[in-house]
């Protein structure tokens, strides 16, 4: 599942969220467990607050697997009726031997996007984009979005507004996504 998330995302220089689309209520704060994989992992979302105590709309995401914890910044946003998760990867990280490494890594600071669905009983489904399909469409030139190819990886350089328009259209196609990752909330 880790590999799935790593390889099946849209890497973008610009965030998917803006002040209009960012979900301002604290919705995903807490500890979430993924027990589907061979090695269960833990997702902890901690809401970030301003000095005045108000919610910034951003979360600190601590992802722990095999005893190693990696930190990210995550933002929950809503485009139309659909939730998305924007996870910011700061850049390359050092991985100790014997460790599979972080769930997300990038050679440059970048934003990674996922569709989110909230299920019953505090369940969250994380849908990664089908990277192979996306690559194929880009190579077939059926997607028109500003991007750069870096070492065979498409890095989207479109601005936030264009990204939102593109994802709204692209997400209408169910084939755009891989199988979801289920995580279960255990502690608020």
């Amino acid at each position: 599942m880790l590999t799935l998330l790593m390889s099946s995302c849209i890497i973008s220089l610009h965030p998917l969220y803006d002040t209009k689309t960012m979900v301002k209520e604290i919705k995903i704060n807490g500890r979430w467990l993924d027990q589907n994989g061979e090695s269960p992992s833990e997702w902890v979302f901690k809401a970030k607050h301003k000095n005045d105590g108000s919610f910034t709309g951003k979360y600190q995401l601590d992802h722990t697997t095999e005893g190693y914890t990696y930190e990210y910044e995550a933002v929950l946003l809503k485009l139309g009726q659909t939730y998305y998760l924007d996870i910011l990867v700061d850049g390359p990280v050092e991985v100790e031997s014997g460790n599979d490494g972080p769930i997300l890594a990038s050679f440059i600071p970048s934003h990674n996007f996922y569709k989110i669905e909230f299920g019953p009983a505090n369940q969250m489904k994380i849908y990664p984009f089908d990277g192979d399909r996306l690559d194929k469409l880009v190579r077939q030139r059926k997607i028109r979005i500003k991007h750069e190819m870096v070492d065979g990886t498409m890095v989207v350089t479109a601005n936030t507004e264009d990204l939102q328009k593109f994802l709204v259209k692209y997400a209408q196609d169910k084939e755009a996504f891989d199988e979801p990752l289920f995580i279960q909330k255990t502690v608020d």
Binding site: R141, K142, R144, I145, K146, E148, M149, D162, K165, K169
Partner: protein, 354 residues
């Protein structure tokens, strides 16, 4: 230098409506493609995007040029035209957005196109194309009016030229029949003057048939022709008719419209009769000034016969028409009748070639 034929072909190409529109849209496609081009490796999708963008632009331009300008602007319904144009621009901008949210999916299934411009940006695109199409349409109308005015002027010139030719042509039969009758009379009596008279008639005919095709002729030739004409007329005239042609001034290479004086001379021969004093004459006085020629002709008339003050007849009427066409504000034609003499004064400009 471009030959006339080549120029005509080029003119036809430039005037070709299909070519004009194709060129405009080809240029538009190229310019907008350059603006819209996102990634160097995505030229194909950028072309499709540019084409899709043009659907609303083309709609706007042709609604403006086929409906709004002809039916509103040309009828001077300015306020309605401006309001309608505003509506058209707004409608086209909405259509542009719909093109990418809906129409593009239908035309190009499997492609994921989005509109990369805000509504206000698209409004600016639409306003620019509205302004360009309006300007081009109005410019084209101006050129069209200009061309039609030129055509009208050309037709008027052709009409004037045709009228002048027709008026000149009406002079010829009079002269020809009169002269032939005179020479016929000479030959009947085997008069020795007949060959010379025939030669003079020949030269007169050459002058009338060939030289007079030009719009202007040397004054010298015109006066020589008059002299021949008088000589030919002398053959048949009564022996006591006194004729005299006097020329004052210097004849150089001045030009004058041909056959202007002949109708007056014919008129004089037609009406000259001995007057109460017993005088029977035709006197021609031609005064050559710097920029004009003053042609005075007088003939004796009997007092008792009722004569109109103004000369009449086809020849004089034609002369009057020709003068009005040639020198509408720059000629003098006066008639004067006394108890014994009928006088005509004609003044026309001379052309002095440099």
């Amino acid at each position: 230098m471009i030959s006339g034929r080549t120029q005509q072909i080029l003119h036809q190409i430039v005037q070709n409506r299909l070519l004009q529109h194709s060129s405009f849209w080809a240029l538009s496609l190229y310019v907008l493609f350059k603006i819209f081009n996102l990634n160097e490796d995505q030229s194909w999708t950028d072309w499709i995007y540019t084409l899709l963008f043009h659907i609303s632009l083309i709609s706007l331009v042709y609604i403006n040029t086929i409906v709004l300008i002809p039916y509103l602007l040309r009828r001077n319904w300015y306020l309605l035209f401006i309001l309608s144009s505003g509506g058209l621009i707004a409608g086209a901008a909405i259509f542009n957005q719909l093109t990418f949210t809906t129409l593009a999916d239908w035309i190009f299934p499997g492609y994921y196109f989005i509109s990369y411009y805000e509504y206000k940006d698209i409004l600016q695109f639409m306003a620019a194309y509205w302004a360009i199409s309006t300007s081009l349409k109005l410019s084209k109308s101006w050129f069209s009016i200009n061309e039609k005015e030129k055509q009208i002027r050309r037709l008027e010139q052709q009409k004037t030229s045709a009228e002048l030719q027709a008026l000149k042509a009406q002079l010829n039969p009079h002269f020809l029949f009169n002269s032939l009758n005179n020479i016929y009379s000479l030959t009947l009596y085997e008069d020795k003057q007949a060959p010379d008279a025939l030669l003079q008639l020949s030269q007169c005919l050459r002058y009338v048939l060939y030289d007079c095709k030009a719009p202007d002729i040397e004054l010298q030739k015109e006066l020589t022709f008059l002299q021949y004409f008088m000589d030919l007329q002398a053959l048949r005239s009564e022996t006591n008719l006194e004729t005299k042609l006097t020329i004052q001034g210097t004849i150089l290479d001045q030009l004058v419209s041909p056959l202007l004086f002949l109708p007056l001379l014919e008129n004089a021969y037609k009406h000259a009769q001995p007057n109460l004093n017993g005088a029977f004459f035709i006197k021609v006085d031609c005064q050559i000034l710097e920029n004009k020629v003053v042609f005075k002709i007088q003939n004796s008339i009997p007092e008792l016969l009722p004569k109109p003050k103004e000369a009449s007849g086809v020849g004089i009427e034609n002369l009057q028409k020709r003068l009005n066409l040639l020198y509408p504000k720059d000629h003098v034609l006066q008639f004067d009748k006394t108890a014994t003499t009928f006088k005509v004064n004609l003044e026309v400009p001379l052309i002095n070639p440099q």
